[in-house]
């Protein structure tokens, strides 16, 4: 079955030299775009979350400051965690749809249907 031109669903990648693919500029570009987004954003939200935790843990007076009505700084910062979580989620999805998915599927299509890449090359 390895020689059939049409790959079966259970054996879609018979003989791919992954090291070669990994070394291509196209893949390296995708890898860089992925990491340059997810690493900084992950570090940023973790720092922001632990800043909030430390304030709630050790800065009781600051967090208890009333802003309007009975709503205090602590409640607003807590709700701020919800806002940033929703915002980062939306931001990542839009980034992945625009910048990551097209490149990823181009590479995937080329690897799973080698005939296309030969026509392209």
């Amino acid at each position: 079955m390895g020689t059939s031109a049409q790959p079966t669903p259970h054996d879609p990648v018979p003989e791919i030299d992954f090291e070669e693919v990994q070394a291509t500029a196209e893949f390296q570009h995708l890898r860089r775009k992925h990491r340059s987004f997810v690493f900084p954003v992950a570090i940023a939200f973790l720092l922001w979350y632990f800043l909030y935790v430390l304030l709630a843990d050790y800065a009781h007076d600051f967090m208890s400051t009333k802003v309007f009505g009975s709503i205090n700084v602590g409640l607003l910062l807590g709700l701020g965690q919800f806002v940033t979580t929703f915002a980062i989620t939306t931001w990542y999805v839009s980034y992945a749809n625009r910048k990551l998915d097209p490149d990823a599927s181009a590479i995937r299509r080329r690897l799973e249907e080698p005939s296309l890449s030969q026509e392209g090359a």
Binding site: V41, I88, Y92, L111, E112
Partner: protein, 548 residues
């Protein structure tokens, strides 16, 4: 969550007595839930043919369905009843606690979900052993999976007795009645998972999540309407009801701020929550039930919105219970803090809303234990049996047969463990499950996805080291001995001051993964690393959905 088990000696408050008169409504609504879900599970099971059907629901769920199921799997009774009660009694600190459970999902979204979907088949161990030495890494990953599932399952089952007794109006000292309840919960769980596999489990979780979120939304709207849709007015009402010192409800520190140790303890808990969620095996396994990485991403997005909105509801419900019932009456009711949400439902919506919310709470326990059981069974059958014990002799049919037998064994052990642990203070087990996931699983998941040099020795040191440190520290912590609220209150062998080991065990596990790799003389196959990296980012060769 803290008083999950500590049912106070029966001092039924007035409200609790009134609630008892209408428990037949609770039982009726709950029976309807069981009947409907059983029909759905039977129908869903008709297409269960292959291993991919049984473990991964044929990878046929959409991102929206799976995201809803994730919310159903993740929002346990501790989340709904525990957090509502914690806010009602301890105010701001209950809200603070809930936030960790939400923010944690960004780790899953950004770093784990899609890459895992692209490189694995059924279990977490598939990913961890992808480019390392199969046998040792698979055994280690299956060990940590089974440990996390066991801790979580035991906490749920032990809690189920007291919780359901509260909802059915059983006496809190009626241990025989509670044992019957635990057996019924375990029996239903075995039935769902045995028949329905992942597909049935997923539908139970979807139905439960929908009921939970609709129920919580309805209560939130009623509570807000009673306070002029003004959060500040609601907060004032909670403060007024609490009487002297009520203003403390709005400020941090009531629960975690007592001493330097309790403050440090919360940091440890926050670390375990935020890093543990994306490494919980039953959460990870859900990502295999969708056809592509893109649907896995959509699942997390749905889960984040549903879970986030739900915790916003609990903020209103918690202060609502504080305002309309008050901490004193909540703590005096059977079930303690867990009684806040049912009491609130009774006060604002009468016996019918109470029945609905009670049935939802019961459904919550069922959906969570079913998800844990199928994860543990899949890990044993796929990782231990098929890849270690039987090796080449195994075939998918046999593997599923082993998984089904494992479900029965786990169910029986969970019922027995739940009955034995009933009445003991084992609430710490949930936090321990998160700490073990964050220590034993997350470092290896991240290193094997993102660090080229990572080796088998690093993985083994990190997984076994993280697991051992977490369990040893908890064994010598105040939750097991040396305090009146401990599991073994009579003994005193605690020397570790914190109730959650995460602050120490997580950094240690990351360090051991690095050290084990640096000291490893052998290196891993670079071709395998290349394959994993290319597949994780592009989805080449990822498992496809099965067609029926």
């Amino acid at each position: 969550m803290g008083a999950y088990m500590s049912l106070p000696a029966a001092v039924p408050a007035a409200l609790a007595t009134q609630m008892k008169d209408t428990t037949w409504i609770n039982i009726l609504i709950f029976s309807a839930f069981v009947a409907i879900t059983l029909v759905v599970v039977f129908r869903a099971s008709r297409n269960n043919k292959t291993a991919a059907d049984y473990y991964a629901a044929g990878r046929s769920f959409s991102g929206g369905q799976n995201g809803t199921a994730i919310a159903g799997d993740y929002l346990s009774a501790a989340s709904f009843l525990g957090i509502t009660g914690a806010i009602a009694v301890n105010g701001y600190d209950g809200f603070l606690y809930s936030i960790g459970f939400l923010v944690a999902w960004l780790v899953a979204l950004l770093l784990v979900a899609e890459l895992l979907r692209n490189t694995g088949k059924f279990t977490m161990a598939d990913v961890l052993s992808f480019r390392l030495k199969q046998r040792p890494v698979r055994i280690a990953a299956a060990t940590t999976t089974l440990m996390v599932c066991f801790f979580y399952l035991l906490a749920q089952m032990a809690g189920a007795g007291g919780l359901v007794s509260l909802l059915l109006g059983l006496d809190s000292k009626d241990t025989l009645g509670q044992a019957v309840v635990i057996t019924v919960v375990g029996g239903l769980m075995i039935l769902y998972v045995l028949i329905g596999g992942m597909k049935g489990t997923t539908w139970v979780q979807i139905i439960k999540a929908a009921l939970l979120i609709v129920g919580a939304a309805a209560m939130t709207i009623i509570v807000l309407a009673m306070h002029g849709f003004n959060l500040s007015t609601l907060l004032d009402a909670a403060v007024a009801k609490a009487g002297d010192g009520g203003a403390a409800l709005l400020n941090p520190g009531k629960q975690y701020g007592a001493t330097g140790t309790s403050k440090l303890d919360f940091i440890s808990l926050a670390l375990a929550l935020v890093l543990g969620t994306a490494a919980l095996p039953h959460v990870l396994m859900r990502f295999y039930t969708v056809p592509t990485a893109k649907e896995a991403r959509k699942s997390v997005v749905w889960a984040i919105w549903l879970i986030g909105v739900f915790y916003l509801f609990t903020l209103v419900l918690g202060y609502g219970a504080g305002a309309l019932i008050g901490a004193k009456e909540i703590l005096a009711a059977p079930g303690g803090v867990n009684a806040a949400a049912p009491l609130l439902a009774f006060v604002i919506g009468g016996p019918v809303l109470l029945g609905f919310i009670s049935a939802v709470a019961f459904a919550t326990i069922l959906a969570v234990v079913a998800g844990l059981t199928i994860t543990a069974a899949a890990s044993f059958a796929h990782d231990i049996y098929a890849n270690v014990i039987a090796k080449d002799k195994s075939n998918p049919q046999m593997e599923v047969k082993v998984a089904r037998r494992t479900v029965v064994v786990i169910g029986v052990v969970a019922i027995g463990g739940g009955i034995l642990a009933n009445g003991q203070n084992v609430a710490f087990l949930v936090a321990l499950a998160f700490a073990v996931a964050a220590s034993a699983n997350l470092p290896t998941i991240l290193y094997s996805l993102f660090w080229k040099r990572f080796t088998t020795q690093g993985a083994l040191w990190s997984m076994y080291g993280g697991l051992a440190v977490a369990i040893i520290l908890i064994a010598f912590s105040p939750v097991v001995s040396g305090s009146p609220k401990a599991m073994i209150p009579g003994a005193s062998f605690a020397w570790f001051p914190l109730a959650n080991p995460g602050l120490v065990s997580i950094p240690v596990a990351f360090f051991l993964g690095w050290l084990g790799t640096m000291l490893d003389k052998s290196t891993e196959d670079p071709a395998k690393q290349a394959e994993m990296e290319v597949r994780s980012l592009t989805g080449v060769g990822a498992e496809k959905a099965t067609n029926h």
